[in-house]
Amino acid sequence: MPHIICLAKQVPDPETPASQFRVDEAAKRVIPAPGIQPVPSQFDTIGVEGALRIKDKIPDTTITILSLGPDSSRDTIKHCLAMGADEGVHINDPAVNEADHWATAEVLAAAIQKLAPYDLIIAGRQAVDWDMGVVGSTIAEILGVPVITIGKDVQYENGVVRVERVLMDGFETVEAPTPCVVTVSNELGEPRYPQLRQIMLAARKEVKAWTVSDLGIPTPQNRTKLEALFVPETKVETEFIDGDTPQEKAEKLAGRLREAKLI
């Protein structure tokens, strides 16, 4: 009975149009865009998809979704349960509202230990808010288990995980004994979308709510300090190439590039 723990973080929708993306520089926070709901971090639903593919082959697999975040993170857990995961754990504690990546990893690792035994921990290659890409590997180090990063295919059988990794100019296949942490990338494929029936089923699945004190660890300290958050300026003067026909525009464009000695 394999047990897979999938980490899932709720984030502001990364597809928020640039025109609606704003930060509060004083609070060093992104201002939620009006009418745009937060979503599960993309690589995390991809991780759940990876876990579900294992469960498709080994039906008695249990998939636990683990998320640290404010009240609304429950929606992210519910989404993953509706995809087909079995149980959810929500760490919701104001004491870790401002947790940095290392404090987050410590809390999640403690929760994972409480959820033991486990075979596989699946995380995203990076959370699509801060794009840091450290929590999966940090958890592996805390737990003392191997980690394979940036996977596009995750196979599990008899205590061995086999992961195809995305390299810069190709792929490699790596094996490790479980328990093991795997982080996944979009090359794994589209996550399945919950159907109405599954959404209804998910409503009945349990989501445990834990605080840091339930984990038996002291509140972890941050190791980094966010000093500033801002939107970088892009100042480009754009010339719209006009012309009566596409041909004219195309030739004018080529002419401009020649003038600029770019071709």
Binding site: D129, S137, T138, P146, L167, V231
Partner: protein, 325 residues
């Protein structure tokens, strides 16, 4: 007291010094203090002198067959040992496949933190300020560290490289990896390269990027033709790679490649922040898009509103003509 900078240099697959190493050493010089460069790998000893030329005062070489192929479990013990030994105030690694895998684990073993994928670093009194893109490139974040050492991975081509000085001397120290095979819990079963023909995307002076607006894989032939005429390479948006229209190795952007050509020609690409993250330092962007409000135009020096099917044949023909004249 920790002091100075430790740079983890990197070799390319064909055994040369990865140019990002010179960028890290350039950054180290600007930060000040003694500079140590660590070179981990198999067959890397010959690169030590080059690191000296880029300003490393000491080069620690761990040239060991167990490091022939990157595996975190094998690289980590020597990386931890060297960092403790050197006791630097700052550690710099490249944001490469190896660096991004190694750095978070190194940080955790040393009870410190790492700022990943930084594009600017500076020393302000006794603190390092590490600046990095966040939110898919829509925002920039600046961090300081509460502990030591302050570890940073640096995006390739973001920082000014050190200039090579002939005859520069460094103390070169050889060390064994000190790793036994049983410490390496992972095992590489197979590795395959996606064959890239012609100019490497990362080195190309001209990149022609294609997006979902191309409508299908066949259309990329036209982009290849243009790239060929210009001596450049073809890149693609993630949408294209996810759809299987073009190889994953051609993906440009936040989770793909960072490219720095003199000219980027974006065809049928909307200009999502995560794509722009891969071309953020390109000065000359041309965009061809049928949507006059496409956000790619905001970052473009030249914009053509229209269907690429109408524009590209005439554009390619004209470019060919101009190149010949």
């Amino acid at each position: 007291m920790p002091s100075g900078v430790l740079v983890f240099g990197e070799a390319t697959e064909d055994g040369k010094l990865n140019p990002v190493t010179a960028e890290l050493l350039g950054a180290a010089q600007r930060l000040g203090g003694p500079i140590t460069c660590a070179l981990l790998g198999a067959g890397v000893e010959g690169l030590a002198q080059e690191c000296a030329g880029f300003g490393a005062q000491k080069v620690i070489v761990v040239d060991d067959p167990i490091l022939a192929e990157y595996q975190g479990d094998a690289y980590l013990p020597p990386a931890v040992r060297i960092t403790k030994e050197v006791d630097p105030s700052v550690v710099l690694l490249p944001q490469t496949m190896k660096g991004r895998d190694l750095a978070p684990r190194l940080a955790q073993r040393l009870n410190t933190a790492v700022a990943m994928d930084c594009v600017a670093i500076e020393q302000q009194s006794d603190k390092l300020i590490a600046e990095r893109p966040a939110y898919g490139g829509s925002a920039r974040a600046r961090y300081t560290f509460n502990g030591s050492p302050q570890i940073v991975t640096v995006r390739a081509k973001a920082l000014e490289p050190a200039q090579a000085r002939a005859g520069a001397q460094a103390e070169i120290v050889k060390q064994p990896a000190g790793v036994t095979p049983d410490q390496v819990r992972t095992r590489i079963i197979d590795r395959r390269k996606e064959k890239a023909e012609g100019v490497r995307l990362e080195d190309a002076k001209v990149v022609v990027g294609g997006g979902r607006g191309m409508g299908g894989p066949e259309a990329f032939g036209q982009l290849e033709e243009l790239a060929h005429i210009l001596g450049g390479a073809v890149g693609a948006s993630r949408a294209v790679c996810d759809l299987g229209w073009y190889p994953v190795a051609a993906q440009v952007g936040l989770t793909g490649k960072i490219v720095t050509p003199d000219l980027y020609i974006a065809v049928g690409i909307s200009g999502a922040s995560q794509h722009m993250a891969g071309i953020s330092s390109v000065k000359n962007i041309v965009a061809i898009n049928k949507d006059p409000d496409a956000s790619i135009f905001k970052a473009s020096r030249w914009a053509v509103v229209g269907d690429w099917k109408d524009i590209m044949p005439a554009f390619t023909a004209k470019v060919k003509e101009l190149k010949a004249s």
